[in-house]
């Protein structure tokens, strides 16, 4: 159970605005961990920094002992960190199968798909996210829930060690949320370390054994969900200053 991801003193400034401020945490291999905070807390920025879509102003990120600070996104993916986006992204004129195939053609994806063949591998992933019956259609006509699944499928295709899921539940109905939850649990059971964000506390509470809370770019709490949920600062962050919790 070594440390898989180590984030130290991470800071990101956009002009005058500090989106992430001196943020540090560690994730151990095989963990299932959540990042919570109200809207605008900087969760997505943290993910962008880890996955290389933005470069930190200062601070260090280490993955499996390798310094990945400021690396290009695809290199980070090829080291084993995959991510999904809060706003769904898909290759809208490619079939679902091809959407997954692209990931399977990445460096790590290829290592796995070599044995079974890219198409088979992609189909198996598509099957595992429950979209195999729609393999030939393009994503533009899919419902939102399926797009979320596709996102996860695309991330899984790169054969990640660490999976960053940015708000995987947003905009979904309750049934759809359940489906996604099962999927994530299954992935975790397969040995993927999962790091998940959410701004609705309740969604994550039952799912993850550990959460990190942040507010206005700052670290505020780390621990089991129940403990964090009762943290005074967290509550203030969510409900506003001065609100008394009875």
């Amino acid at each position: 159970m070594g440390v898989i991801l180590e984030v130290k003193n991470l800071t990101k400034k956009f002009g005058g605005l500090t989106a992430v401020n001196d943020f540090s945490f560690e994730i151990k291999r095989g963990e299932f961990i959540g990042l919570i905070g109200p809207n605008g807390a900087g969760k997505t920025t943290v993910f962008n920094l880890i996955s290389g879509f933005e470069k930190p102003s200062s601070g260090r990120i280490r993955f499996n002992g390798i310094d990945i600070t400021g690396m290009k996104p695809y290199k980070i993916v090829n080291l084993g960190i995959a991510r999904t986006f809060q706003l769904v992204r898909s290759f809208k004129y490619l079939s679902l199968l091809d959407n997954i195939t692209v990931s399977c053609l990445s460096k790590r994806g290829k290592e796995v798909s070599k044995k079974t063949g890219t198409d088979n591998y992609a189909s198996s992933i598509l099957a595992s996210v429950g979209l195999i019956d729609k393999a030939r259609i393009p994503p533009i006509i899919l419902p939102h829930g399926d797009l979320r699944k596709l996102q996860i499928g695309k991330a899984v295709g790169t054969n990640p060690e660490l999976l960053l899921l940015d708000e995987p539940f947003s905009g979904l109905s309750f049934e759809e949320q359940l489906g996604i939850t099962d999927l994530i649990k299954k992935l975790h059971a397969d040995g993927v370390t999962i790091f998940i964000t959410g701004h609705v506390l309740r969604e994550l509470m039952t799912l993850v054994p550990r959460v990190i809370a942040m507010h206005q770019g700052k670290f505020i709490a780390d621990g089991p969900p129940v403990q964090v949920a009762n943290n005074k600062i967290v509550l203030e962050a969510y409900l506003g200053r001065g609100v008394k919790i009875a």
Partner: protein
């Protein structure tokens, strides 16, 4: 990227693969068109036919290769280029220079000029690929204009041959029929290669970059690398077309080989046929060349007192047709046309 084993497997199943493809509607239609193109030169030995009409076909084939190369870069990979004449022109000039001033054989010159075009693709693609969408379009346009203006300058004529370029080159072949077949073979090769590329895993990656570059990056794809591959591949075929064009014309000059109008020819042809279809480029090129041919052929038509000279108004008429087609068939005319034809065909067979 290329797995030899898979290629071998594909080769083994090739006959059956081909057989099943021929049975499809598009397959049989393609074979039909190719057959027509194949027998075309034997229809008449009349000079007016071989030296005028067939030459238009040869020209259309050159432009088909050129437009298809543009389609690979823009339609498939989503990198909008308004300056494709860069590769077309550079290759033509190198080819002309080697033949005229270094007395290289024609084919070696074409090979060298195509390779040089690929290097240009690399050299231009590398800095410019940081740009996206219309910015890339403007960047490539600007690059082609810089080359055009430099080549045009009288004061640089000692190095770049000036506005009159290089002339009196030998033809591609002794007769228009041989020229036709050479270009026919190269066109088929180009299209087979480009269509296979667009259908391959490599093509899937290119398309993913077109649809969502960030997403492609997040899927672990080195997008810069693939975009440069796309640029180089595209410039290879553009260069090939450019070399052929120089020999088809028998001369090169700045406006005629670097002109913005050539870049727009590629864009028009490819998008008339249908973007991202590759084969649409051929349809667009043939349509484009023969529309002009037909308008000249129709010439002056007198309706009552009104005399309309289609030959003189050909570009205006062409512009109208272009606007109408793009306006009402945004995705080109190939796909809708094929679909309608297929529907009709199915109806005819009672399916």
């Amino acid at each position: 990227m290329l797995n030899l084993k898979i290629v071998k497997e594909k080769m083994n199943e090739f006959p059956s693969y081909l057989k099943s493809w021929v049975k499809t509607f598009t397959g049989s239609l393609t074979i039909f068109c190719l057959l027509i193109l194949f027998v075309m030169p034997f229809l008449s030995a009349n000079q007016s036919f071989t030296h005028v009409f067939l030459r238009q076909f040869s020209l259309a084939m050159i432009f088909a290769i050129f437009a298809a190369s543009w389609d690979l870069l823009t339609g498939i990979s989503g990198q909008i280029s308004f300056g494709h004449a860069i590769f077309f022109g550079i290759s033509g000039y190198i080819c002309a220079y080697l033949i005229k001033y270094q007395s290289f054989p024609i084919w070696i010159s074409i090979i060298i000029s195509t390779v040089v075009a690929v290097f240009f693709g690399l050299a231009i693609g590398f800095p410019l690929l940081r740009l996206k969408g219309p910015y890339l379009a403007l960047g490539t346009l600007a690059m082609s204009l810089i080359l055009l203006k430099l080549f045009l300058m009288g004061s640089l004529a000692d190095w770049l041959f000036g506005s009159e370029g290089i002339s009196a080159l030998p033809g591609l072949a002794a007769t228009p029929v041989i020229e036709y077949f050479i270009l026919f073979i190269f066109m088929i090769l180009t299209f087979v290669i480009l269509i296979q590329i667009s259908k391959s895993k490599f093509g899937t990656i290119l398309k993913s970059i077109r649809d969502d570059e960030v997403g492609s990056d997040a899927s672990g794809i080195n997008t810069t690398k693939y975009k440069i591959y796309a640029f180089m591949l595209s410039s290879f075929f553009a260069g090939l077309a450019g070399g052929f064009y120089a020999l088809y014309i028998g001369a090169v000059n700045p406006t005629g080989n670097f002109g913005t109008v050539l870049s727009f020819f590629a864009i028009l042809m490819a998008s008339l046929g249908g973007l991202a279809t590759i084969s649409g480029a051929a349809l667009g090129a043939f349509f484009f060349i023969f529309l002009e041919y037909a308008l000249i052929e129709i010439g002056v038509v007198e309706i009552g007192n009104l005399a309309i000279d289609f030959g003189l108004y050909k570009f205006a008429i062409f512009a109208v047709i272009l606007i109408v087609i793009i306006r009402f068939a945004e995705h080109g005319i190939l796909k809708p046309l094929l679909e309608r034809l297929k529907d009709l065909w199915d109806l005819l067979l009672g399916r």
